[in-house]
Symmetry: C2
DNA sequence: AAAAAAAAATGACTTGGGTCATGATTTTTT
DNA sequence: AAAAAATCATGACCCAAGTCATTTTTTTTT
């Protein structure tokens, strides 16, 4: 994985807005004319697994959870900050169905681009399509990382992983206000809430992190990296 | 997930050879001139995680295991029969590195397409790029399914899942010669070999499957489906 | 500011599935 | 066809992580 010494479950950093630079003025105008801008409140559903994907969704602001559900359980595939697209997986011909649900962790602003328009642009502008392929590559590599992390690492490794991910990729600081509950953090690591609480205490006792109310601070990034990799 | 009542870890069915129909004669010729045909023996490495991806690999014949490795362990991302492409994830600009390894489960014949040629075709032919996007969509949905299966289902569900996958998608019959060892089957389900052996016995005792040497036969597909979904 | 509700914490107990040891088969090598 | 090496199979034991019950703290509502 690029720039990363080991496999982790980080989200992507790429801002997909760049893709749209490849469109001609005419195409941009065409797209602009066929898009909506929508605001979602915290916990609101942005798209629902199994429903018809009428739009590709660009996240302008906020933080979104992408997950799949079934009788067997529920799995968070990724969390996406602004600059990402939701629904690319629904693009393929003959499908048009969201393979996952998305809900807003925070108040979120999104642009909805008509999927037919999007597909038309792909079919007419190879440069644009190439950029979307880039994005999809990054997405898939990121999914592999999270897949690996959740299936191969032990609990401490998974937790260290997600904390580093939040710090490095989502909030981009060592100290950040985590407005996720312990329960949400547990969901994100695929573990029970109690387990996460106990581990956070351990990390605190070991001076790897400091927690003050909702404020997380990473004290020993190196050690966390090590735990993420070997623990 | 299309045509599927519940999430599973099946491989894709799409034959990517279709993509190349979108190329002009000239482009096809250009590609043909820049490809190699290589045979791999069982267990041979086709590509290695972390190495430079000089080619996109089309599987003409055989069966391939795609996996990632790290200090923390090893994870099979997917198994690919003929008609699939290896290395699409390495396409994105600035990367060019295989994010996974591939080895042949059986003797395999592959066509290696120069990655620069491939990328050039993507940038010049939007129809072709669109088809590749289709393939990538299917791939990502399939990965989500396997991700879900391995993280959310219990052992019997995972095993039922993989047996159905082999039957429905790989061998396309109810009865097939499985030239995978119990150990490989265990790897594929992310469990210990002993666990798999015990579960197979249970499935046999319960008359869900019959095993004669290497020949597997599915006796009660419906029940297996049920176990895959709820078990 | 009091009451209600939600979230965080902690201890006790359970369990799914891994590990290890050993023996029986099957496959491969010589 | 005998020997060696894998693989398959089974029992005994263990442990990481889940579940459940209860208490404390924080947040939200009235």
């Amino acid at each position: 994985m690029p720039n990363n010494p080991h496999i982790n479950s980080c989200t992507v950093s790429y801002d997909t807005l760049n893709c749209f630079n490849k469109l001609t003025d005419e195409e941009l105008l065409y797209m602009e004319k066929n898009r909506l801008e929508i605001n979602y409140k915290e916990d609101e559903t942005i798209c629902k697994q199994g429903t018809f994907a009428s739009h590709i969704i660009y996240i302008c602001k906020g933080l979104v959870k992408i997950y799949v559900e079934d009788d067997a359980g529920s799995l968070i595939l990724k969390i996406l900050p602004k600059g990402n697209l939701i629904g690319l997986s629904a693009l393929y011909d003959g499908n048009n169905i969201f393979p996952y649900s998305a809900t807003a962790y925070q108040d979120t602003k999104a642009r909805l681009i008509d999927i037919h328009v999007f597909r038309k642009l792909l079919k007419s502008n190879a440069e644009f399509a190439s950029e979307i392929i880039n994005v999809m590559c990054e997405n898939s590599i990121q999914t592999f990382g999270r897949f690996f992390s959740l299936t191969q690492k032990q609990s401490y490794g998974k937790l260290a992983d997600i904390i580093l991910c939040l710090s490095d990729r989502i909030f981009k600081k060592n100290e950040f206000d985590l407005d996720l509950t312990r329960k949400e953090l547990a969901e994100l690591t695929g573990m029970s809430t109690e387990r996460v609480i106990r581990m956070l205490k351990k990390f605190k006792d070991d001076k790897l992190i400091a927690i003050n109310k909702k404020t997380f601070k990473i004290l020993d990034e190196e050690k966390l990296q090590h735990i993420s990799q070997y623990g």
